[in-house]
């Protein structure tokens, strides 16, 4: 088994109201100096060893992310 991490982020040009709301809340909580926040999704997949990179890319592109509005990255990590 291998652990695979897929990160999905809104594209830079897409408005991210959730990230903006987080950024706006920080000064109110007394945390200064954070100028921007973008909010995305983080998936941890446990996959069999014979699942290849092309399949993982397909999972990310066709399902975990919507490429119209989101960018994605796939990486294998130490479990």
């Amino acid at each position: 088994m291998a652990r695979v991490v897929v990160d999905v982020m809104p594209k830079p040009e897409i408005l991210d109201p959730q990230g903006q709301a987080v950024a706006n809340a920080l000064p109110r909580l007394g945390f200064d100096g954070v100028t921007a926040v973008r909010q995305g999704k983080h998936f941890e997949l446990e996959v069999a060893d014979d699942v290849d990179d092309a399949t993982l890319a397909k999972i990310a592109e066709s399902f975990l992310a919507n490429p119209v509005i989101e960018d994605w990255t796939v990486r294998r990590v130490e479990a």
Binding site: P10, I14, L15, P17, Q18, F63, N66, V68, I69
Partner: protein
Amino acid sequence: MRVGVVTFPGTLDDVDAQRAVRYADGEAVPLWHGDHDLQGVDAVIVPGGFSYGDYLRAGAIARFAPVMREVVEAANKGMPVLGICNGFQVLTEAHLLPGALTRNHKLHFVCRDQWLRVENTSTAWTTRYDRDAEILVPLKSGEGGYQADDDTLKQLEDEHRVVFRYVGENPNGSRNDIAGITNARGNVVGLMPHPEHAVDALTGPTDDGLGMFLSLLDTVVKA
């Protein structure tokens, strides 16, 4: 006229969509998400709600429901398909319509009666309206912001595929004030507001939404 109305786990507005079909003298045929069967209907409505709890992204999981394969196949052959609210989100996820729907720009769930302008009256679902007619129907959604890249937006505008546009203040940050669009062929329409909740002045703000279902009747009878 037999019109299928899809029900997924978490769908809310299937019953009102069925009622709207009956108001237009059609027969409403419930379609179950797990069936590979459209039961010989003339058209399909993908109604609003929160299919699969909006898990992952609104519409992302519903798109892979068994019945959707049949809906996509039929739509590509020209069958009229209407996606309302969550149904619009499902149709974009299924690539029947371009773009995507994102979180409202002010993060509030918007629930109000909304004026729309009908800008395309040649789709399967809008022939009964006068061009640029303004209609009042409910809007109730948290992820109704229409997003598409500049090239897609330009294509939609150039080809007059923006069917409905918000009138007045933009309620959710949709690009170009877009409330609803159609595919190139004009048989598939998706919109965030709810025409099926506005078919009788007794239960809705107006009966302005009924025109969509009567338009479908004309389309099916002509076919």
